[in-house]
């Protein structure tokens, strides 16, 4: 049985003349890990805030757990755990106090919260920092604490806005591991990200957004299959040469993208293409053979790089 926890139809959000979200439709199933992939300003965060009942839509239908977040805000928020993009931990309090008071905001009893704190600290790997003021935590620790905090109320849906932005690689991997555990436990996750590796790792299904609209929808594998080839060959001829070499490259592959620093050749067998190119007397300065990624999907859909 796959019940839809979230259903959205024709959702539009305008700030004055600016259209942040432009008539999007999607749904999220229970225990699904659902991603919003897109560059900054694509409308991901706005969409998340509307789902989290902290923003009003301009038009369209939104149903979260069968109810309208605009009318039943507090009731819907009681079902959600929210991990905002900008940290909003209580800087005057310690780690434990942050978890405790957040539970109190939901009206939970002190006894109930105290019984959960040890588990939450363990989950966030912050047992040794329990009485530390949050100001003294590293970026990764803060992010883990915010996630632990969002779990204090036993939410049905966890909303994560750019969960690993600004973290170093090691801290990201620790965080991904934590999120995987939640996914395994059947938590429904909503994740916005502009990192394709994050989306590939964490999301069962995702929508690619740009300028307020949905460009495509599907699982990472589906999206790649649909919008890209199996492999990619990246070649560099030097910054001045790339554009000049592009026409000569076109005949070797299905599709070509010329970026300022390199040329991407889309093909089913990149090794073979490279051999052909070299065989034809071209000598790229460097070359790289790799699998297609969501980055390529995004490039295909929008004609732009995801991270600029």
């Amino acid at each position: 049985m796959s019940e839809n926890l979230i259903e959205v139809q024709g959702l539009t959000k305008k700030y004055g003349e600016f259209v942040a979200v432009n008539g999007i439709d999607f749904h999220v199933r229970k225990s699904e890990s659902f991603g919003f992939l897109g560059p900054n300003g694509a409308g991901k965060s706005t969409t998340m805030r509307i789902l989290a009942a902290t923003s009003r839509r301009t038009s369209g239908e939104v149903s979260v757990l069968g109810r309208d977040p605009e009318i039943h805000g507090p009731q819907i928020r009681a079902h959600l755990g929210v991990v905002p993009q900008e940290g909003n931990l209580d800087v005057q309090l310690t780690v434990t106090e942050n978890l405790y008071i957040y539970g109190r905001y939901f009206g939970l009893s002190s006894k109930f919260i105290r019984s959960k704190i040890d588990d939450l600290l363990e989950f966030a790997q912050l047992e040794e920092k329990r009485d530390t003021k949050v100001d003294a935590l590293s970026g990764g620790m803060k992010r883990r604490l915010i996630i632990a905090r969002s779990l204090v109320s036993d939410p049905d849906i966890l909303i994560l806005d750019e969960p690993t932005t600004g973290l170093d690689p090691q801290a990201r991997h620790i965080l991904w591991d934590r999120l995987f555990r939640l996914k395994e436990d059947g938590m429904t996750l909503l994740i916005t990200t502009h990192y394709m590796d994050e989306a590939e790792q964490l999301c069962d299904r995702l929508i690619v957004m740009d300028k307020g609209s949905i460009m495509s929808e599907g699982s990472p594998a589906e999206l790649i299959r649909e919008h890209s080839t199996r492999e990619v060959l990246e070649v560099r001829f030097g910054s001045e040469q790339n554009v000049r070499m592009a026409p000569a490259m076109e005949k070797f592959c299905d599709r070509i993208e010329v970026l300022p620093d390199r040329i991407l050749l889309y093909t089913e067998d990149a090794e073979a293409v490279l051999e052909e190119i070299v065989g034809a007397g071209h000598s790229p300065k460097t070359s790289l053979v790799r699998r297609s990624s969501l980055e390529d999907v995004f490039l295909r859909l929008t004609g732009r790089s995801l991270i600029d």
């Binding site: 700030y15 805030r49 989290a52 902290t54 923003s55 009003r56 009318i71 039943h72 805000g73 507090p74 009731q75 928020r77 009681a78 079902h79 959600l80 929210v82 905002p84 900008e86 940290g87 909003n88 931990l89 209580d90 800087v91 005057q92 309090l93 310690t94 106090e97 405790y100 008071i101 957040y102 109190r104 905001y105 939901f106 009206g107 939970l108 009893s109 109930f112 003021k133 109320s153 036993d154 939410p155 049905d156």
Partner: protein, 276 residues
């Protein structure tokens, strides 16, 4: 789906009047202030009532020597210290409430984004406003008690009605805090807070703290009497000097209106700011 405790609690309020704005849980916001207070520097927070006491010593006794007894209205002659003591209590209630509802609120709204976190839970904006103001009032209450504990033994509170000055100070603080928070919610930059200081200074200096309003021409008196600090001083002075009359209820009403108005605007603004 099994309901979590948080959901069950939120559902209980469903359908009640104003459930979008108020979850009936401003206690949790108040509790947060208390936890933060426990780890702050106690004596700094508690020493808040020192300032009016210093003013009282300096003016009441220092300047008072050159002034003698004065007419506190309706021909009642009192010492200069007894004249200014209630005004200082009213002023400190105002200052404390304004400080808490402007600087502190601004910081939590814009720098630490504390309210963003609160409003992502099942709390509503009115819970946040009431909880924050309640904390300011508890501080105000402690300051008022501290101040009274110093001045009453000095014989500066000649009437037993003076006990009512303590709840009156809290009422006054409530009024200023509600309006202060409403105004702060419109500010986007720290510097704008300077405007509040500019507005408060003349009120502090001309509201009849240090001399009877009768030194001014009649029309100026009328304007000053309508200002909130002057209302506060009239109320508290009447109580400490025991000049009881029905007209005092007008001052009480004045502050009740301020409270309602301030809370209304604050709730709407918080809702608009965080529900963009």
């Amino acid at each position: 789906m099994l309901l979590s405790a948080a959901v069950a609690i939120a559902e209980r309020r469903e359908g009640k009047f104003g459930d979008r704005y108020y979850a009936g849980r401003s206690r949790a916001v108040l509790e947060r202030s208390f936890i933060a207070f426990k780890s702050s520097t106690w004596f700094v927070v508690l020493s808040g009532f020192v300032e009016p006491v210093l003013y009282l010593f300096s003016f009441g006794y220092g300047v008072g020597r050159f002034i003698g007894n004065i007419d506190a209205g309706s021909g009642k002659m009192v010492s200069y210290a007894a004249f200014i003591a209630p005004a200082l209590l009213a002023t400190s209630a105002m200052n404390g409430a304004v400080y808490d509802s402007t600087w502190n609120v601004f910081f939590k709204m814009n720098q630490s984004r504390l309210y963003h976190g609160m409003l992502a839970t099942s709390l509503g904006p009115l819970d946040v406003a009431l909880g924050e103001i309640a904390w300011a009032l508890m501080r105000g209450l402690i300051y008022a008690i501290g101040f009274m504990a110093v001045v009453a033994p000095m014989g500066l509170i000649p009437s037993w009605w003076g006990v009512l000055a303590i709840p009156a100070a809290v009422l006054i603080a409530f009024g200023f805090a509600s309006v202060g928070m409403a105004i702060t919610s419109y500010f986007t930059r720290f510097q704008q807070m300077g405007a509040i200081n500019i507005a408060l200074l003349p009120m502090f200096l001309f509201s009849g703290s240090f001399y009877p309003l009768t030194v001014f021409p009649g029309w100026i008196q009328a304007i000053i009497k309508a200002l909130p600090l002057s209302q506060a001083i009239q109320l508290i002075r009447a109580l400490t000097l025991g000049v009881m009359q029905v007209g005092l209820l007008v001052h009480v009403l004045y502050f009740l209106v301020m409270i309602t108005f301030g809370l209304f605007i604050t709730t709407r603004r918080l809702d608009a700011l965080f529900m963009r």
